[in-house]
């Protein structure tokens, strides 16, 4: 099983988001960078599948040179190789991103590599476009499913599950090669070991330079949503607040008889 995992470098926003003065970007001066939790699970799953079934694992990202940091994070937990589709750091829309990944997959496969499975996060943490994996799959003529939370590989097929609306699971059976967009909950990602980090630091990153194509939507500006803030009413302290809470529950009509 040869697996390609695609990840995206995003700022690690914990508290509140601050924008740059022109309102076009997040002010990242005081932020670290990471990938989405969905993608952390995709990376972990690739390592686990190769541990179980053999084969190779590759991580790919499209972004500026510093996105090599996220590629090394993935190699630190066991991904073998890394590919950077290097940009000047500007936003690439989903069509341009998908086209660049398709070109890279074709180029790597023309050099003798084959990928049985392409893994994506269900949606990027920042732009939340929900479509790059499907666009890549369609261009490559490979079957794809999104929202995946369990993966089993057997006999040239991949059996996958995702949450069904209203509870339970929907099961899909796809022929390989296939493309999966996965969600957090697929597994519990491991932490990198110190030797893993040192090994990743020394590894070479394959670089390619993609050309953007026209797509959309085109960002004009970012802004923070309004009206989210509330005025909090402190109704009590400690266990002594219980009667006041029950009174509130009654008033809100949520205390059944």
């Amino acid at each position: 099983m040869n697996i390609l995992v695609c990840v995206k470098r995003v700022p690690a926003t914990g508290g509140r988001i601050t924008l740059t003065a022109d309102g076009r970007d997040i002010d990242t001066r005081y932020l670290g960078f990471t990938v989405s939790p969905h993608e952390e699970c995709a990376v972990e799953e690739a390592v686990r599948i190769v541990e179980k079934h053999g084969g190779s694992s590759t991580v790919l990202t499209l972004g500026p040179e510093v996105a090599g940091e996220q590629l090394r994070d993935a190699m630190a937990i066991g991904i073998e190789r890394a590919v950077l589709l290097e940009t000047d750091g500007a936003d690439w829309d989903p069509l341009a991103t998908a086209a660049a990944i398709v070109d890279a997959v074709k180029e790597l496969e023309a050099e003798g590599e084959t990928f049985d499975l392409l893994l994506f996060g269900n949606e990027a943490a920042d732009t939340g476009d929900f479509q790059v994996g499907i666009r890549v799959a369609t261009a490559l003529g490979r079957p794809s499913v999104t929202g995946i939370k369990a993966i089993d590989i057997a006999d040239g097929q991949v059996v996958v599950r995702r949450d069904a609306a209203g509870g339970g699971w929907e099961v899909f059976e796809l022929d390989l090669p296939a493309v999966l967009a996965v969600k957090e909950g697929l597994n519990l990602p491991r932490y990198p070991s110190v030797p893993g980090r040192l090994r990743a630091k020394k590894k070479e990153i394959v670089r390619m330079t993609p050309q953007p194509r026209a797509g959309g939507p085109t960002k004009e500006r970012l802004r923070l949503p309004e009206g989210n803030e509330s005025t909090v009413e402190v109704i009590g302290q400690g266990a002594a607040a219980a009667p006041a809470v029950v009174e509130l529950l009654t008033r809100l009509g949520v205390l059944g008889r």
Partner: protein, 328 residues
């Protein structure tokens, strides 16, 4: 014409699809274009009948036996064929799991851009829209330049309009059966089978009350306190990300950017500090009651009510008080 994908559960239109129709109707009346709907699967005709008064002129109903199980590519192929014959200016769906998936396939097949999780549109040239980034922690104003605009609607961003009750607007849509031409390739990805949930409980996304637990709960065992309160309130239990990434509870209970979006009447957040990734999953709650040791925790800026103190004392005390008051 504006074409809206309407999802339904056994003949009952989904809430997010009704939100989508509300926006479609508003935009349609603004630009003088009718709204058509497309519905798939068993019960589609029945669901179409329930769209009376929601501004839908024609409901295209696909009740092909091969689509009895959800098949995202086949749904997309059907939408693309309707686009070819009906030439809509806008095609939109709910930003649900299926809506986003099907519309991404529509975008991929037509090579058109797709704006996902849109909260508002201003039609015209240029065609402007606002969409969610970071699951709604941030908004993006953008321009969509395409012959047909493909959109999905962010959940809970638009209120559901009351259906029209008088005159021609109150009528049900004209139902037109639509038989798409589907290839084996279109049908090769489909739900093979459905597994039932291991434990039947109250669904987090439907619950009127949700009791949430975060890092402050402290251990997997201590969730029994939250479960007891939830049982008394007929509530569902949800959790923050740290709880699932610590392996205390399954990811299916996670509320937030990479988990579920809930919209209960009341969310009781216990020991949850309130990172934005969690808040975006809970902000559609009508009211939030925070139980936390820290009166300055970020959760307080979105909470309506708060009890300050140790949740391990407060939550059991609330349960005991409910028992005393209700005699249970």
């Amino acid at each position: 014409m504006i074409l809206a994908l309407v999802e339904h559960a056994d003949g009952r239109p989904e809430r997010l699809s009704l939100e989508t129709l509300s926006l479609a109707r508003r935009v349609g009346s603004g630009i003088g274009e009718p709204v058509d709907a497309v519905l798939f699967g068993a019960g589609a005709t029945e669901a179409a009948g329930q769209l009376a008064g929601r501004g839908v002129s024609v409901a295209h109903v696909v009740e092909d036996g091969r689509l009895a199980a959800f098949a995202p590519v086949a749904w997309a192929a059907s939408v693309v064929q309707l686009m070819a014959t009906r030439a809509p200016s806008i095609v939109l769906a709910a930003g649900s799991d299926r809506g986003n998936e099907v519309m991404a396939h529509v975008g991929a097949r037509t090579d058109l851009p797709l704006a996902a999780n849109v909260t508002d549109v201003v039609p015209g040239e240029p065609f402007r829209l606002t969409r969610q980034r970071w699951a709604g922690s941030l908004l993006e104003d953008a321009v969509l330049d395409a012959p047909t605009k493909l959109l999905t609607m962010a959940p809970h961003a638009v209120a559901i309009d009351e259906p029209a009750t008088g005159g021609a607007a109150a009528g049900a849509p004209v139902v037109e059966p639509f038989a798409p031409a589907l290839t084996d390739d279109d049908l090769r990805v489909a739900v093979a089978r459905r597994l039932e949930p291991e434990a039947a409980g109250i669904s987090l996304t439907d619950a009127r009350v949700v009791v949430g637990g975060g890092r402050g709960v402290g251990s997997p065992e201590a969730f029994s306190e939250l479960e007891e309160l939830a049982a008394l309130l007929g509530a569902a239990v949800g959790v923050s990300r740290v709880v699932t990434s610590s392996g205390w509870r399954p990811h299916s209970q996670q509320i937030g950017q990479t988990g579920l979006r809930i919209a209960p009447d009341l969310y009781i957040a216990c020991g949850i500090s309130g990172a934005i990734q969690h808040i975006v999953g809970a902000k559609a709650a009508k009211r939030i009651l925070a139980i936390n040791t820290d009166p300055d925790a970020p959760i307080m800026s979105v909470a309506d009510y708060a009890v300050i103190g140790n949740l391990h004392e407060i939550v059991p005390a609330i349960s005991a008080e409910i028992r005393r008051v209700t005699g249970r």
